[in-house]
Amino acid sequence: MTTPASRKLWLGYAVAMLWLYVLLWPLIGIKPGGLEFATSAAIWAKLAAISAILLVLWQLKQRGVFDFVSRPAEAVSKALGKATDRVPTRLWLVLAFACAVAFPLVTERYAHDVAISVLVYICLGLGLNVVVGMAGLLDLGYIAFYGVGAYTYALLSVHFGLSFWLCLPIAGAFSAVAGCIIGYPTLRMRGDYLAIVTLGFGEIVRIILNNWMSLTNGPNGILGIKPPGAYWWQDGKIEHIWLGSLEQFYYVILGLAVCTIVAVYRINHSRIGRAFEAVREDQTAAELMGVNTLGIKLLAYAMGAVFGGLAGAFFAARMRFVSPESFTFIESAMVLAMVVLGGMGSIPGVILGALALIALPEIFRGFELYRMFVFGGVMAMMMLFRPKGLWPAKRMGARSEERD
């Protein structure tokens, strides 16, 4: 390992580790009682050892030491890929759907709860995906629409006793209106300004929810929201039961998620979807080709908001309680992390991202504290090593070399 390249690599490693220690030690080691080195050195040694091992493995891989494993593995995965390609996509979809339907029958309460969260986040992720992935508008206040949807249903249910199913479209419509109100002044801005302005709007919505005591009951939230009902016609009058159990919630949100998936898929393949992509890739060119860019961006924004609002209404019904606590910036960042991790613009990617970010931490419960820490790091690293995400989106149509 004495090629100039590897020497440079290890020199870089040494400098980086020195740097890391200098940054780590003051945070941990300086106590009012005195200076301490043991704890920080222990953490540092672990990090250094892990990264050294990773570097060695990477170097060995570069030199082809693992070829005897990786070559056959690659061949197997290629063959598998070919075999799975032969199975029609529809069959996979039916299989996945059947598994999703059967899921509550073979699992217990805790798993239902996690599955419901995953599905809610899938809806949110897909909605944000329309804005960020398809239209390329970075929205950091997406959770505001989730909040609008949730509060719409909460207020209508508590004050007017309206049914969930009636409120669902109303929540979607309110969110769309909110999306237009927020989108209209902001969407003319340059992309990176848009990010910070949407962040500002997200915070404004949260602060309003927190302080408008007469309407939202402030930080105490709204209690006593009704779950969705199931209605039928019997003996000349309408009968109903409340869908209050976890399984029933699961099926409601599964239905909502499937509708969202189908809708987003259809949007992606429509003329509008193409227009989104055109705006994302090159706004000037899109405008020249006759795309109404402001209109299209507004549409993307409103559509994303609708999905957020629907998920929000469900969230309110599921929790039977809403408070501004649930709609913080961290939630927006989390949904964004899902989209980025899964692959911007990719529907299966977003589903994978939601699974990874919601279900995995449930498995590693002991590391709960480290969750956002790891997400942040992963998000930054993804951009370096795999900017297109775990399951990159398939490009629609052909296009010239892309510049950025």
Partner: protein, 300 residues
């Protein structure tokens, strides 16, 4: 009138702090057109380094002003190193990729640093040693604490120092040249990488000083305090005209004043909203800001 004067004093104190943080945003944006989301976290890290160093030195029995001075210098150095590390690690390799990627990795870095602070320092407020600077005096009915004098003094010194650095020295000239045209400045022998790194370091050092002063002013620091303050400082940078150093100072002062007066005369619950509304209003009606400069039509 007394209330007005009092608000004015508070507004100047707060505005100076915003100006210091806004400078980091504006300098980085001016040179590589990136909203450095992690900047707010650097500010918070500065506040923590301040509390860590000052607590330690107070426990060793040094006099308060020595503690403050030494802590300020050391913490600024620390934050400069931190910002340079962040820049090297995630921004530099992405220099040629799309702006959306860089923005996302900046956001990821911000979450990473914020939670790193939480993990090492805990989720609760960490209090500054109380006996640092006490007392104050009265002018026309308004209370001015010595703490505020110290804060304004340090802020002014740092702002003057930065102005001298940027407009009077060779390094400053190189920075301005790089911000104007990277290729041309590289052709005349300016090492753009080094200048960008330096810009991050300077911005971080200023944010760090702001963090320490906010910590002293309010008495405590919290791991997530960089988020809202970061957005406000960015609003200040936009208000002044992004990329413009004098503009950022002016914008910071204005945002601080507006916030304090709005909290005093309109509503203190909604005080955080005003900065956002100004940000949106400025971007909509006057996207080049007050001093207007450095607005190119590049998009994410």
């Amino acid at each position: 009138m007394e209330v007005f004067l009092q608000q004015l004093v508070n507004g100047i104190t707060l505005g100076g702090v915003y100006a210091l943080v806004a400078l980091g945003y504006t300098m980085v944006y001016g040179i590589i057109q990136l909203i450095n989301f992690a900047h707010g976290e650097i500010f918070a890290a500065g506040g923590y380094m301040g509390v860590i160093l000052i607590s330690w030195m107070v426990a060793q029995g040094y006099p308060p002003f020595v503690c403050l001075g030494v802590a300020l210098v050391l913490a600024m150095g620390y934050c400069a190193l931190l910002a340079m590390a962040v820049e090297k690690l995630v921004y530099k390799p992405l220099r040629s990729s799309s702006r959306l990627s860089v923005l996302l990795s900046a956001l990821g870095m911000s979450i990473f640093l914020q939670n790193g602070l939480m993990l090492t320092q805990g989720v609760y407020d960490r209090a500054y040693p109380g006996e640092m600077v006490q007392g104050g005096f009265e002018i026309g009915g308004a209370m001015v604490s010595y703490m505020q004098i110290v804060i304004v003094g340090i802020t002014v010194a740092l702002l003057v120092g930065l102005n001298t650095l940027v407009f009077k020295t060779r390094i400053g000239k190189a920075m301005r040249a790089t911000a104007q045209d990277k290729t041309m400045s590289a052709l005349v022998g300016i090492n753009a990488s080094r200048i960008i790194s330096l810009t991050f370091a300077i911005g971080a050092a200023l944010a760090c000083a702001a963090g320490i002063m906010v910590g002293m002013y309010y008495g405590s620091v919290r791991y997530d305090m960089g988020f809202v303050l970061g957005v406000k400082a960015f609003s200040a940078a936009v208000l002044g005209g992004i990329g413009n150093i004098t503009g950022a100072m002016l914008g910071g002062l204005l945002i601080g004043m507006i916030e304090v007066f709005a909290a005093g005369y309109i509503s203190s619950e909604y005080k955080d909203v005003f900065a956002f509304i100004i940000l949106i209003g400025v971007l909509y009606f006057m996207p080049t800001g007050i001093m207007g400069e450095n607005v190119d039509d590049t998009r994410v």
